[in-house]
Amino acid sequence: MATQQLLSEQLSNIVTIAYFAAMILFIAYLALRSKGVALAASAAAYIGFTIQTFAIGMRWYESYQLLGEHGRAPLTNLYESVVFFAWTILLIYLLLDLKYRQPSVGAFVLPFAFLSMAWAQLRLNAGIDPLVPALQSNWLTYHVITCFLGYAAFAVACGVSIMYLIKSGREEKSASGTSAGGLMAMFPSTRILDDINYKAIMIGFPLLTLGIVTGAAWANYAWGTYWSWDRKETWSLIVWFIYAAFLHARFTRGWVGKKAAWLSIFGFAATIFCYLGVNLLLSGLHSYGG
């Protein structure tokens, strides 16, 4: 369709650029160790997030302009979900940043948000279409919001876990045992990284649980079965099992630190598979990544 771009889409292009700038600046911060650069990076992230919040609201409004009474929350197709995913990643990241103030983490989280936005803007169909009967339900909104907030928390946990593995790997190698220099100098200590990983999963896990429960409630409401071992359902349960294992690993010696970081990375890989792989490689009830 050669229609004119919607305002929300144009705003999303700006958001993509802002996230790209933030990502580059966060990485530059690791190399330059300059407070100013970190500040600029954070500013870009905040500006991008603010514009995106507005853009999502705008798209909601535009759906009513285009479809009249059939307007709906912008959470109903792959494009909208990928954009929303980027927004939730920023939301969780900024919340954790308020608490921990570790700009280096941004260098490992912003890439997820930027790649999502770039993919959505460049490759996905951004048209606003009315909903087919199967998706005409408020449960869709609750389900998508909770799932994606959970996914986003796992994305942050994954970024932090990668940092953990890099940092602890270096520390083991450097014979002196002192904190590694170079790019690693700006990394938080492994103890803090481990803590952020845990906190992020602590936020993500109840949200994923709620996402699975709202999905089950919706399925029961629409089809009369709360659980049918549909591929998407099963994969969300697989993700849930992995993070449940992660949480319990904390209570068992020998399963913290590196193993926990690996578990977090596996968990996020499974999350991405649940979100995209299931739709692209397998087939099931869900018509898009929701």
Partner: protein, 451 residues
């Protein structure tokens, strides 16, 4: 009874209480669950044999990979999981119960030594006065303390959020409750599927995987079924069945529209709009005008069937579809009185279309009737509310487990001459850093209070 036997029992018990088992089971469940998302479940042997060789098929079949979520080994994993959960809780719960119901009111030096938050002061006031002031202070800033006198020492103990310790148990119990609800559903309920022809009714349903129809105890009639599309597109907008529920011939629910995402529930049995299909051939009503005489005749034609026209010749509808803009469109094959073949096109929303053809007869599509079967899923699940209770408990339990903590503060007062020695410490059972922030603030106020 030998010591060996007891050792063996203890070993088994420890095995089932171990968190290593929990982690292994969670990971095993995650990994094995993948199988059922890669291999199509519950297909017919013919369908499998199209994909797999006979040998592969036999192997997969014997491993129950074609219905793996109900296989003996998967259910065994879930059983072990439940036993693990129960054993762990049985082992730990009494200790937690005791911590909450019989709190340690008196902190000794060993306990104080475990606190990272320890505070010691000597104040120039007699003990009873310090005791009263601190009791009031604790009550205002934290929680009312329990005062214990032990010789010349006086101990204050205050706690908050003790019940937060139960969050984990609520979460774990919720899993067992969800299992219970699922078992209730599969033993006492059923799932099925019915096709109801417009205008007809059903009073039984054949459950999935069963052969004997189950009586509903009432009758469901489908008065009509319709599909609508968003204007100008082929995108479906609504599938709607109008249903009437009758009991002993009396309509108890009348003309209830049932659409996707808005089912009908009656006496614990729910009917969900699920699919539809045309029943028999469509019937078309035409007006055929003779161009010369100007006379009209009304004819009805079944899809595909030739129909004779008054004045010679015949026609047949050989193609029809629903067009977003023109409504129903149909293509006709005509045979004139002279035996020549012609083709014509009519459209519901363009009545003048065929006049443009310039033929001897002008066809106008007046009405189109297609009867449908509506396909409804039927479900009875008396366990579903148990599942929702479990889910609610799980959410609430994990929020408590993650975000609330049991916080305790102990104060010990000891007379030192005419002065009073004060020792104070506190802990939280989780989120220690968060507690430390609170405790630092608390200590500042505390110092202001005693100085």
């Amino acid at each position: 009874m030998s010591a060996n036997k007891r050792d063996f029992t203890t070993a088994i018990w420890d095995f089932f209480c171990s968190l290593k088992l929990t982690i292994s089971l969670l990971i095993l469940l995650a990994v094995t669950s993948i199988i059922g998302t890669v291999i199509q479940q519950n297909r017919s042997p013919e369908q499998y044999l199209e994909v797999y060789s006979v040998t592969t098929y036999r192997v997969l079949e014997s491993l129950q990979f074609f219905d793996m979520y109900h296989s003996w080994w998967f259910l065994t994993l879930l059983g072990l999981f439940s036993i693990n959960l129960i054993a762990c809780s049985v082992k730990r719960f009494p200790r937690v119960w005791k911590t909450v119901r019989e709190p340690v009111l008196v902190a000794d030096d060993t306990l104080y030594r475990t606190f990272s938050n320890l505070e010691e002061h000597l104040v120039n006031q007699p003990l009873p006065q310090v005791r009263d002031r601190l009791a009031a202070f604790l009550g205002k800033e934290f929680a009312s303390p329990v005062v214990t006198v032990e010789g010349e020492k006086v101990h204050l103990f205050a706690q908050k959020g003790a019940w937060a310790r139960f969050g984990v148990y609520v979460t774990h119990l919720s899993i067992l409750i969800i299992f219970l609800g699922a078992i209730m559903g599969s033993l006492l309920g059923y799932k099925g599927y019915v096709n109801i022809l417009e205008g007809s009714s059903i009073d039984k349903v054949v459950p999935r995987g069963g052969s004997e129809p189950i009586p509903l105890g009432f009758t469901v009639r489908c008065d009509s079924f319709s599909v609508s599309f968003y204007e100008g597109t082929g995108r479906p907008k609504e599938y709607k069945s109008m249903l009437t529920v009758l009991e002993n011939g009396v309509a108890v629910i009348k003309d209830r529209p049932v659409v996707v995402n808005d089912p009908l529930t009656y006496k614990g049995i729910t009917f969900y709009q699920s699919s539809y299909q045309p029943a028999g051939d469509a019937v078309f009503q035409f007006t055929v005008k003779d161009r010369q005489s100007g006379q009209d005749q009304n004819v009805s034609a079944r899809f595909g069937q030739p129909v004779k026209l008054a004045g010679g010749g015949s026609f047949r509808v050989f193609n029809a579809k629903e067009d977003p803009a023109f409504g129903i469109t149909a293509q006709l094959e005509l045979t004139t009185a002279a035996g020549e073949r012609r083709f014509a096109q009519v459209a519901q929303r363009a009545p003048d279309l065929d006049a443009l053809r310039g033929g001897e007869q002008i066809f106008t599509l007046v009405e189109f009737k297609q009867r449908y079967f509506t396909g409804l899923q039927v479900a009875k699940d008396p366990g579903v509310w148990v599942v929702w209770v479990g889910c609610t408990m799980m959410i609430i339990g994990s929020l408590i487990a993650f975000f609330l903590s049991h916080r305790r503060i102990w104060i010990t007062l000891q007379p030192v001459g005419g002065k009073t020695g004060i020792k104070m410490g506190g802990t939280a059972h989780r989120n220690q850093p968060g507690f430390e922030l609170f405790f630092d603030e608390f200590k500042k106020k505390f110092k202001a209070e005693i100085s």
